[in-house]
Amino acid sequence: MSGQDPGGLLDRLVDATVIERIVISVASLLFAVVVGGVIVTVSGTVATCREPAFVLADREFCYDPIELYRTLFDGAFGSLINLGLTLQETSILLFTGLSVAVAFRAGLFNIGTQGQMVLGALGSALTIGWVAPSLPGNIAGTLVIVPLAVLVATVVGGLYGALPGVMKAYADAHEVITTIMLNFVAMGVAFYLVRNHVGDMTTDSVQTTPIPEFARLSPTIDGTRFSVLVLLFGLLAAALIYLLYERTVVGYDLRTSGLAPEAADYGGVDAKRNIVGSMSLSGALGGIAGAMYVLMVHYRWETDMPALGFDGIAVSILAGNNPLGVIPAALLFGALKGGSLQIDFALGIPPELVEVLRGFIILFVAMPEFFRMIGNYAGYGTEGGETDG
């Protein structure tokens, strides 16, 4: 049985104090920034550029790491339009981050948010396509179609999240494996459907027809597509989920069923049903993220959606899986995304660097022991040290 639980560390992450976790997250961030800086600097000696950023010991360096982070920050917050782009990313990351966090709270690792989001997005885009023609193209139509699109995405994402939940609860199939595989299945099936059956057949690209004007969330900041409504909805969702887990019996049952199924069963709670419940809730949030992408960002479903679902894993892990922690973490990764365009544009540094940073942040957060060792070495030993046992 114990072999089925990938997360001795999951427990430890959940048990660590809030302060400890904030320290670990901030330290991880700093380490990732340093590693990223080193990678960029070294890469700068290989790259070819018209004008080196600086010359050191007769070597030409194309990229300047200090300039990189300054530009990244500037690209994320430097102007109203940049801020809009950052907040647009942040709003969707709130949902994908919460999706991963909700499952994590119950000791379940949902890597499938990406797939749930892809299908949720497709569900909402198709629903709008089918329903829009019979609705008035005014505010009344908006009030009907937007909630409907979100509802459909919630249901689609929720069902697709429930699937690995059922497989985990009733067939003991590891959710890490099943959710990874279901991502590929979702992307493949969505691609097939759109390309061959429900897509926009007038173009060669694999996409649905664009949604009508009245189904789009109007931008709050001119020159961007950021809608403050989505941000507020995301913040509300974070608060509600926080309350659900901290203040209600349902939240408590969801948690214990995943973390300690035997204990839950002993306490008269149907652990299996709650595992499915956690995964459904997680999937539903992924689905909503997909709807937001369609309603606010892209106005249609298109293949190769951005990896917002995988970013959600980073958001949740950096947040220590705390629903409120998801808010600053989503802002951080939103800013990285927002700023990545600028480092390409202004400095010629490949924007993929941001993905490398994302990976290192996750990696460092995953090894709290590393920081404890450093802490002990430097003489700031955290009391007790070992929390696993």
Binding site: G3, M181, Y192, E352, D388
Partner: protein, 351 residues
Amino acid sequence: MADQRTVRRTAGIVAGLLIALVFLLVIVPGALAIGLKLLGIIDASYARSALRLTVPIAFAGMGGIFAEKSGVINIGLEGLLIISAFSAIAVMWFIGGGGTGARMIALFGGVLASLVVTLLFAIICIEFKADQIIAGLAVWLIALGFAPFGSIVIWETVNSDSVGSFDSLAMPLLSDVPYVGDVLFTATPPVFLMLAAVPFSWYLLNRTAFGKHLQASGEDPRTLDTAGVSVRKVRYMGVLLSGLYCGIGGAGLALNAGQFAGGGETITSGRGWIGLTTYLIANYNPVGAFLASFGFAGLDALQLQIQGVPGVELSSTLIEIIPYVAVLVVLAFVGKTRMPESAGEHYESEE
């Protein structure tokens, strides 16, 4: 005994798939005609291309077995394939020149890069007690970002320049054997390495002291420790073997193609994940993992060739997801694929 069961299981799965296929051919209108046309595709050149496509999947799958059997789940197989594919092509590009010798050096470069990353992963998991799943995921995500990043730095686009690919070599004598010789013994070096690695892996895992230690390290590390064998060392070996295998797989894939493509999922396009499915389907048997890899690669090759056949409308996308669906079906419905008891857990030695 357990081995026999695995073999029977694998045979059962293959038989099940075949029956399902025949069933489909019979009930779907027009499918029979398509099926017959597809049979026409299957020839020596098809088998050779399927074998080439098996390389990354089988190496990732067999490598993953060693890591997981030792008690460390290496979910970063895909990332290691990407790193070694990129590095091999980068080395090839820097040394220039052609010939099998230069390509072997490039292959070695790819393996070395994969080993370095794997060593870091092992240290992070074993010394720093990181969550193995998250760390493995991080390896994948870092590789997914780093390879296109590096490509742009070196070649100014996410795709590398073309550096030339491995030539097929004919094994003396063996390549003259009718039927088999043309397919199995006239191939590129990575294919030969793979054909050698299959029996080697099985032997190493099941017939050597190291193999026993490896299995004990994943099942019951305490007992192994008590017997005076260092669990740490065994786990390092297991994880590094997965890095070695992925190194050959990724570099082999890229050098068979002669180029690194860094867009989207990169040139590996999920083959590391498919490798993961193969050993779960085969319940940690290297031979089974290889057979499953060959099966999936065969579908992939089929899918590539179908596009040239007139009158056949088969969605390549749907064929591509077959491995993923297959592993889901196996995990949910076919007897339990049993993870090593202590896989994913840290082991604290009592010394």
